[in-house]
Structures are given as structure tokens and as C-alpha cells.
């Protein structure tokens, strides 16, 4: 980053004396027009890189009581993170929530995107409806789930009146409630992404397989799926990122002290309730690390998949 600002600094104040140098730089694509990039880079450095590095530095300045309790000098926050089961369990709690939800969103989207890829009446209307959850936002989805799927809600009332169940199902204020809210916000996103990947696959490939006698199953597993797999991996990563950073719904429709005590809640608890900024930064940064590990594993798997043109319009 600093290298960029340094490389084009020399040719700015005295353009005449360093004309040849400016020319040589311009040939490599460095000239005064690159300054248009400057505001964005300054914003990124001041509002992202600086606070982030500051936060990393902060994790090595634990509060005295953490240091006394866990020892380890400047690493006390990290030792506390791994040793305190109340904090460390939140890693598994977050994973147990985010991984199944991301998998579910991707796997269910595949057949639906597949069936709905052809033109049919009302397709535009349906994709408009699918964008609707974006307007709801997590907080309103939580409120709606509490009313709709709560003990007195329409869903339980309907199931009880039709005699399917005798007791109201506990669908909110627990693990299931958060899953519902994550699927409602994440599924449309996964569906839109996968259907755009699917439209990028040339239909003539499948037609060719059909002329060679491949049946529906073979066409799917041998032709379409390998072409679609990298896109599925990307979709999985993006829905996982959404589900992993769940915060408001874990608090509102979940069980924030039990089965949905996710990492984001723990970080916020340290930040706002315990006013322990260094521990909060530690949890927040470990959250980023865990997420990046999962993404790295998926990307590693993705690198073994087919990479090339899918021949379609996308």
C-alpha cells in the first residue's frame, strides 16, 4: 500500500525535472491519474487497516485481571479464549449453526434453480418475491418469526387445529428459530447466485450428452454438476459468511445464553457489557480467523475442481 503512494509521489511535485522518470513510470501504468485511486485507498487505510491493526495490537494488551487469572503475559487474552469454556464453546456453537444452514441453503437451491431455469409465466414476479426478505432485514424477520411461529402463532395454531400436533412446537427462542431466520435471509441469496451460475452453463453441452444417450441422472452428475461445482463452492462461502456473522437473530429468536451463544454475541458482550476492549478484539479477530480457515478449506477443495469456460452467456 505504502509502496504505491511512494512510487507516484516523486513525479507529482516537480514533473519537469523528473520527466524521463515520470515517463518510465507512466509506461508501467503509474502516472498522476492514479491519484483517482487515492481517496478510496486513504479511506480503506484509515477506516479499515488502521483500526484492524490497532485491534490486533490491542489483543496483546490484556486487562490485569485476565492476566492474573490466566497468566501468559501479553498472550493472556488468547489463553483465556482457548481455556475459558464459556468463550471457546461459542466457536462450536457458531459452527453448528452456520455450517448446516449454509449447506442447506446451497443444497436446496440446486434443484429449485434447476427446475426454475426455464422460462415460465411469472418468473420475474417470483424472483421479485425472492428479493423480499432483503427488505425485511434480520431484526424484522426475528419479530415476525416470534409472532408467526411462537406458541400462540398462526403456524402452531394451524397445526394444532388440523390435529397434526397436540402440543405447540417450540420453534422460536431456540436453535431452530435462528436456523429459520438464517434460511429466510440466506436462501434467496443462494438461489439467485446459483441460478446465475446455472445460466452461465451452455445448454448445448447437456444437449450433446443427451444425444450420446446419457439419461437425466448421468447428464446431471457427469456434465452439469462438475461445471457447476466451483460456483457452488463460492455460493457456499458467501452464505456461510452471512450465517457465520449472525448476531441480532441469535439474540432475538435464539437462546442467547445456551444453544445460540455465537461468537458475535460473546464479542459484543465483552465490548459493551464488560467494557473489556482487548478481550472483545481478541474474540472478534479469532472469529475472523475461524471464518477464514473454513473459507480456505473450501477454496482448497475448489482448486481441485474444473476451472475453465462453461461456454454460456454468463
Amino acid at each position: 500500500m505504502t509502496a504505491i503512494t511512494e512510487t507516484h509521489r516523486p513525479n507529482l511535485p516537480k514533473p519537469k525535472s523528473t520527466a524521463s522518470r515520470a515517463h518510465r513510470l507512466a509506461e508501467r501504468g503509474v502516472d498522476t491519474k492514479l491519484l483517482m485511486l487515492l481517496p478510496a485507498i486513504v479511506f480503506a487505510l484509515v477506516l479499515f487497516v488502521y483500526p484492524f491493526s490497532y485491534g490486533i495490537g490491542l489483543t496483546f494488551q490484556p486487562l490485569p485481571e485476565i492476566q492474573n487469572q490466566y497468566g501468559g503475559g501479553i498472550f493472556a487474552n488468547y489463553i483465556a479464549f482457548f481455556k475459558d469454556p464459556f468463550i471457546f464453546d461459542s466457536v462450536w456453537i457458531t459452527m453448528r449453526l452456520a455450517l448446516p444452514v449454509a449447506l442447506f441453503n446451497v443444497i436446496v437451491s440446486i434443484p429449485i434453480a434447476f427446475k426454475l431455469r426455464h422460462k415460465f409465466r411469472g418468473k420475474r414476479f417470483m424472483s421479485t418475491l425472492l428479493v423480499l426478505p432483503i427488505t425485511l432485514g434480520t431484526v424484522l424477520t426475528a419479530q415476525g418469526l416470534l409472532i408467526f411461529a411462537g406458541r400462540q402463532g398462526w403456524l402452531n395454531r394451524f397445526l394444532m387445529d388440523t390435529g397434526i400436533i397436540s402440543q405447540p412446537l417450540p420453534l422460536v427462542n431456540n436453535y431452530l428459530g435462528v436456523v429459520f431466520s438464517l434460511v429466510i435471509s440466506g436462501f434467496p441469496f443462494a438461489y439467485l447466485l446459483i441460478s446465475s451460475y446455472l445460466s452461465g452453463i451452455d445448454p448445448s453441452l447437456e444437449a450433446a450428452a443427451k444425444t450420446l444417450g446419457a439419461n437425466w441422472k448421468q447428464r446431471f452428475t457427469k456434465v452439469t454438476l462438475p461445471l457447476l461445482a466451483p460456483g457452488l463452492a463460492t455460493t457456499f462461502i458467501l452464505t456461510f459468511v452471512l450465517a457465520f456473522s449472525v448476531f441480532p437473530s441469535a439474540r432475538l429468536v435464539g437462546d442467547p445464553l445456551g444453544s445460540t451463544r455465537v461468537m458475535a454475541l460473546m464479542a459484543y458482550r465483552s465490548f459493551a457489557e464488560q467494557i473489556n476492549y482487548s478481550m472483545a478484539s481478541t474474540i472478534a479477530i479469532m472469529m475472523g480467523v475461524v471464518e477464514l480457515i473454513v473459507i480456505a478449506i473450501v477454496l482448497l477443495g475448489r482448486s481441485f475442481l474444473y476451472k475453465g469456460s462453461t461456454g454460456g452467456k454468463g
Binding site: F48, P111, G144, A267
Partner: protein, 308 residues
């Protein structure tokens, strides 16, 4: 031998195909039969369940916000608009909506002014360390908001900016500027550079090229990116929540605070009425947005940018 059986099999499937086609009546190639397969039923059932949940959620919030005494019945005992008046005075919604709109529009304008020139350079130029710059702009989108939000909020409080409007605007710029850059870069790439070259040849300066030539061509992209930023900023909970205070809460954060502070059914209807106001606001933005952009296309554009 195996070859023979394979041939035999394919002949058999062909036969099945033919009889199936006969049963379904004469269909031109590519048309679907009326009687759906189990797979189709599964798909439609899944979509139906999703929409039942979606409409259940929306309708129950709307009914709750207009209802009075809704406990153990299908519908509330009577309907009223008093929750809206109550919520408006109790939470000072004029102020909250004002804050929300100010934050959203300032964020949209600043991130477009900063992001579009940067996207232009990334689309048109190759320069040393370009990949590093791309990564710098991708990170704030990929990293969970809480991860960079907590250090960022700590810095804000250290500088005495905590709970101010400025802090709310600044934290919302962090993911918004990269978002503009990432959606605009492919959009600029598809504009033919020879148009700009022609303008330069006719003696236009860089600023003139930008104002007279590029901006008119970029208007659809800028509108799309701007509307998306608007939706994201109005809906952004985590980052705003970390730095905002009573005087700088946006609507989502105010709803969250109302939900977590009070319990009981009276507060629930108040929260619902605020939620309906929020959804109505978002719907207006979305309806305007859908006039300009196709949702699938948009995700695909983002995807392409993320690929490289």
C-alpha cells in the same frame, strides 16, 4: 457383449421415451408435460413452504401492528392505528427516520464519489500492486462485520466520536466504498474505451471526459450501486449498533433496542408498528431499485468481480 447390452438398454429407454411421449400427447420438443414428476413436486413444495413462512412473517407483523388484544385468537379482537401514534411519540420516530435518511444518503453520495474513480482506475489500468489493492477492497466485504467493527468502534470511542452521527456515517462507509468499487469495476470494463480515446483526441481534459462522456454512460450503474448501498445502509445493523447512541440510532437499531429492552405484548405491537414502517420504507426503495436492475444480473456482476 457389454456393448450389446448397452445398445439394448438404450433401445429400451428410447422405447420408454416414445411410449411416455405418446402417453403425454404430442408435445413439441422442449415443452414440458402437464403432469409433473416427483422432483418437480419437491421443488414446488419447497418454494411453497418458503413463501408460507415469508408471508406468515410479514402478515403477522402487519396484523400485530394494527391489532389490539391479540392473545389466543386467530385475529386480534379489534383493529386500531394507535400503535403507530404511540410508537411515533414514544420513540421519537421523526428524529430516528431523519437520522436514518441522513446517514443513508451521505453514505451513498460519499461512497459513489470515492468509489467510482477508483473503480475506473481498476477497470482501465494495470499498475504495480494492483492485486494488493483489490484484496484491500475485498477484505471489508468478506470479513464478518463484527470482526472489524469492534476494533473500529474501539478506535471511534478513543477519538471521542462514539455515539455521534459522524461515527455512524464513517463505519457505514467501510463496507460501502468497496461495494461500489466491486460492482462498478465490471460495469466500467464493458464501456468501450475508444469512446474516451475519441474524446481525448478532440481535446477534452480528464475531468471533461469524466463529466461529459463517462458519467452519462455510467448513470445506470451508479444508480444500481447507489440503491444497493442505500438498502444496505438502512438495513446495516451490526456496525451501526456498535457505535450509535440514543441520538444517532438508525431505525433498525432503534427496533432492536426496543425489542431487547422491554417485554410483554404491549411493547410487541409497538415494535411491530416500527417494523412495518421499516419494511414500507425498504419496499419503496426496492420498487424503485427493480426499475433499474435485474436481481440475478446484479449478483452475477458481484460474482465476476469476486472471482478474480
Amino acid at each position: 457383449m457389454s456393448n450389446f447390452t448397452a445398445q439394448h438398454d438404450s433401445a429400451a429407454t428410447e422405447l420408454v421415451d416414445i411410449t411416455a411421449n405418446r402417453n403425454r400427447g404430442k408435445l413439441p420438443p422442449g415443452e414440458k408435460p402437464l403432469v409433473a414428476s416427483p422432483g418437480t413436486w419437491f421443488v414446488w413444495a419447497g418454494v411453497a413452504v418458503f413463501f408460507i413462512f415469508l408471508f406468515g412473517i410479514i402478515t403477522s407483523v402487519v396484523v400485530d401492528s394494527f391489532g389490539k388484544g391479540w392473545f389466543t385468537t386467530w385475529l386480534p379482537q379489534e383493529f386500531t392505528v394507535s400503535w403507530y401514534q404511540d410508537a411515533w411519540t414514544r420513540f421519537d420516530l421523526t428524529h430516528i427516520l431523519g437520522v436514518t435518511l441522513i446517514v443513508a444518503f451521505v453514505v451513498v453520495i460519499v461512497s459513489i464519489l470515492v468509489g467510482v474513480p477508483a473503480a475506473y482506475m481498476l477497470a482501465r489500468r494495470n499498475f504495480p500492486l494492483k492485486r494488493l489493492v483489490m484484496v484491500l477492497f475485498l477484505l471489508p466485504i468478506l470479513i464478518p462485520p463484527i470482526t472489524f467493527g469492534i476494533p473500529l468502534a474501539t478506535v471511534m470511542y478513543n477519538f471521542g466520536l462514539g455515539r455521534t452521527l459522524l461515527a455512524v456515517i464513517l463505519v457505514n462507509l467501510v463496507p460501502s466504498i468497496p461495494f461500489v468499487i466491486i460492482t462498478m469495476t465490471p460495469f466500467i470494463e464493458q464501456i468501450n474505451p475508444s469512446i474516451e480515446n475519441a474524446a481525448r483526441m478532440c481535446g477534452a481534459s480528464m475531468r471533461q471526459v469524466f463529466v461529459r462522456v463517462l458519467t452519462p454512460l455510467l448513470v445506470p450503474g451508479i444508480l444500481a450501486a447507489g440503491i444497493l448501498i442505500l438498502v444496505r445502509t438502512v438495513g446495516m445493523f451490526e456496525l451501526t449498533f456498535l457505535v450509535s447512541g440514543p441520538q444517532s440510532d438508525t431505525l433498525v437499531v432503534a427496533i432492536y433496542r426496543a425489542m431487547t429492552s422491554a417485554g410483554g405484548s404491549e411493547a410487541r405491537a409497538l415494535v411491530s408498528s416500527m417494523g412495518v414502517i421499516y419494511t414500507a420504507m425498504m419496499l419503496v426503495i426496492l420498487i424503485i431499485a427493480l426499475r433499474f436492475i435485474n436481481p440475478t444480473q446484479l449478483v452475477a456482476q458481484v460474482k465476476e468481480a469476486r472471482e478474480d
